[in-house]
């Protein structure tokens, strides 16, 4: 048997923003367009350093947040894996073209490092106030995938997941992290390329004359031809038929809209990612995400040490909402606590799923400070 050399992963001490940039490069991102904004700027700075050194990487600093979205979608249409990153006010500006990306089914990743809001708010303080905006920010009924990360290693992991989901489902994917996670430094180990699953969009399998760019496909996700590949498609933000041309015929509009939702709704088993901790025998559950999940993890350990049966559900996918996992808790537990750094944006989803079955308690903080383990512990006991 051939001797297998043991490989050691490269380990670095990095902050969440660096981990996001690392994850993007590992996932095959070759295009970044952005605009500087605290606290997400490090992602942009790293991409500016790294992308021109790759074979075909493109980095662009655009004139505003809207332009960054436009450039990234344009690049996505030419077959690139594209990303942009921003924070609060910038995320508001990006909403216009997030809807466009949903409509034309352009895969891309939008990172939003949440800071205190509304408006300019608290630029250097953490918050989780953009959760519902990530879901419903752009106008019109649309499906979207929103992911989150609570530690630095998770930032890397979830960025790769975000790119994979974007490519697999041909949809913009939003990664929500918060200022604390973005700026906390931790050790991360960089996986080797062959250790990672990296997905790319489905290419057309038929010649241009047979190709329907928005055809009804088995998974609901049509193949995507890149500009310049010879398919000469029409891409429009107007509601379109299977050929991509504008239509207002109710049957065609309905077919398009239902497919748009179906392509994600039918794959909850793949899209919904949660972490369950000490939940098997839990009588009391905490549902959390982002940096708060970290505090909650600590609080659960402390509560367990005192003999309380407490568990934690960490939401890594925020939307579509992880209904099955939360529903299970609603039937199992006597109390559920939802601590978050907003006035209750995920707790309203938990309450909706709960439908009166068990007692849901909230713990909200909107002063730009993180929720500490002791606060959560106090709320549990």
């Amino acid at each position: 048997m051939a001797h297998r050399r043991r490989r050691k992963r490269k380990e670095i001490f990095a902050q969440g923003n660096e981990a996001v940039a690392q994850g993007a490069l590992l996932a095959g991102c070759t295009f970044y367009a952005g605009y500087p904004i605290t606290p997400s700027t490090e992602i942009m700075e790293i991409m500016a350093q790294r992308l021109p050194r790759t074979e075909d990487g493109v980095f662009l600093q655009m004139e505003d947040e809207i332009a960054s979205m436009g450039a990234a979608i344009g690049a996505s249409l030419t077959g690139r894996k594209a990303m942009t990153a921003t924070s609060g006010p910038g995320f508001s500006l990006k909403q216009e073209l997030i809807g466009y990306a949903c409509m034309v089914e352009a895969p891309m990743v939008i990172v939003n490092v949440m800071r205190g809001g509304p408006s300019t708010g608290l630029p250097t303080s953490p918050a989780q106030g953009d959760v519902q905006m990530a879901r419903w920010g752009t106008h019109g009924d649309h499906p979207i995938i929103v992911l989150s990360a609570s530690t630095v290693p998770e930032c890397l992991e979830m960025t790769v997941v975000a790119f994979n989901m974007a490519e697999k489902y041909r949809t913009p994917v939003i990664l929500l992290i918060d200022e604390v996670t973005a700026h906390t430094r931790e050790k991360i180990s960089i996986p080797f390329e062959d250790e990672l699953e990296v997905l790319s969009r489905m290419q057309p399998a038929v010649p241009p004359e047979w190709f329907k760019p928005y055809a009804e496909a088995a998974r609901g996700v049509p193949a995507m031809a890149a500009i310049g590949q010879g398919y000469r498609c029409h891409v429009t933000g107007l509601t379109h038929d299977q050929m991509g041309y504008p239509t207002s015929r109710p049957d065609e509009v309905n077919e398009f809209m239902t497919r748009l939702f179906r392509k994600i709704d039918n794959y909850y088993h793949d899209v919904l990612i949660v972490d369950e901790y000490q939940l098997e025998d839990a009588e009391y559950a905490v549902v959390a995400y982002g940096c708060v999940a970290r505090s909650a993890h600590h609080a659960v350990d402390q509560a367990r040490a005192r003999g309380h049966k407490v568990g934690l559900l960490t939401l890594k996918t925020l939307f579509p909402f992880a209904r099955p996992a939360v529903e299970k808790l609603c039937m199992q537990c006597e109390h559920i606590l939802v601590p978050e750094m907003n006035m209750g944006q995920i707790s309203r989803e938990v309450k909706r799923v709960n439908n009166g079955r068990t007692r849901i308690r909230t713990l909200n903080r909107v002063d730009g400070q993180i929720i500490t383990p002791s606060e959560i512990l106090k709320a549990i006991l």
């Binding site: 655009m62 809207i66 332009a67 979608i73 344009g74 500009i227 010879g230 000469r232 029409h234």
Partner: protein, 271 residues
């Protein structure tokens, strides 16, 4: 088969449900014809031509031609075009915008595209009004002119696309009109092949919205107005207030995408 029929067969989409949206007398069809003739004369590969359009009457142009076409959001066409050109510099990217697109909601994108000198051809179809939404005042509506939102005459001074693009540093800046189809063809070809950012303004009458509100009795009057009120820039004398047409800026700076490729190569050579 006549030349026009050949061009129609070659460059217009067969699978698109015509008729088009343009009103009778609209100048946009003439600009579209000029675009098709220019691409044909330059012998560009259809697969390598990308039309990126904004929103409005001009934006609908993209759907009819058999190129790679992207109908974007209002004002944002240049941002998409920048992304496309940077991602694949081999493509000929032509951006079709109206005056509302290019000068109002997308004004910032226009000046920054000019500043960074991205290798895109920006075609500004200026009909001096918001046509599709029913004839509201635009940043190109001349002072004193009537529209649905300036019922007592516009008080504001309009933008001059050419001066704006020149000042912002566009590599190539030209103006023509729907009346001067031959000149438009020539300038269009120059604008498409010119490296870096090119801006071509085409004055294009809107009889339905602009003409009716501003005492043009019929479509012919509007084209006659263009004939009488424009002059080639070379022939324009001191004190002549007519609108100049022709080439206004012709610089030879390499486009951003070329400079970026050079940067990438030099960085890779270092390693």
């Amino acid at each position: 088969m006549s030349d026009v029929t050949k061009l129609i067969h070659e460059y217009l989409r067969h699978n698109k449900k015509f008729p088009h949206v343009f009103c009778a007398g609209c100048g946009h069809g003439i600009v579209l014809g000029s675009l098709v003739r220019s691409v044909h004369a330059l012998q560009l590969q259809k697969d390598n031509v990308v039309i990126v359009a904004g929103i409005g009457c001009s934006g609908r142009m993209a759907a009819y031609v058999d190129f790679n076409t992207v109908h974007t959001a209002h004002g944002r066409a240049l941002t998409f075009a920048t992304g496309i050109k940077m991602a694949n510099p081999e493509l000929n990217v032509i951006c079709v915008m109206g005056d509302g697109d290019a000068l109002s909601i997308g004004g910032n994108h226009l000046i920054h595209a000019a500043r960074r000198n991205i290798g895109v051809t920006a075609l500004v179809l200026n009909n001096q009004i918001y046509g599709m939404t029913g004839g509201q005042c635009s940043p190109a509506t001349p002072q004193g002119d009537m529209s649905m939102t300036s019922p007592f005459g516009s008080l504001e001074q309009p933008f001059d696309t050419v001066e704006l693009a020149k000042a912002a540093g566009a590599n190539f800046v030209a103006r023509s009109t729907s009346f001067h189809a031959n000149q438009l063809d020539k300038l269009m070809q120059q604008a498409i092949v010119h490296p870096g950012f090119s801006v071509l303004e085409a004055l294009s009458p809107c009889p339905t919205q602009y003409g009716r509100k501003n005492k043009f009795r019929n479509v012919v009057d509007m084209y006659n107005w263009l004939k009488k009120n424009t002059v080639k820039v070379e022939k324009q004398k001191e004190g002549d207030t007519r609108i100049p047409t022709g080439v206004f800026q012709n610089l030879d700076r390499p486009g951003l995408e070329e400079r970026y490729v050079e940067l990438r190569q030099s960085l890779q050579a270092e390693e």
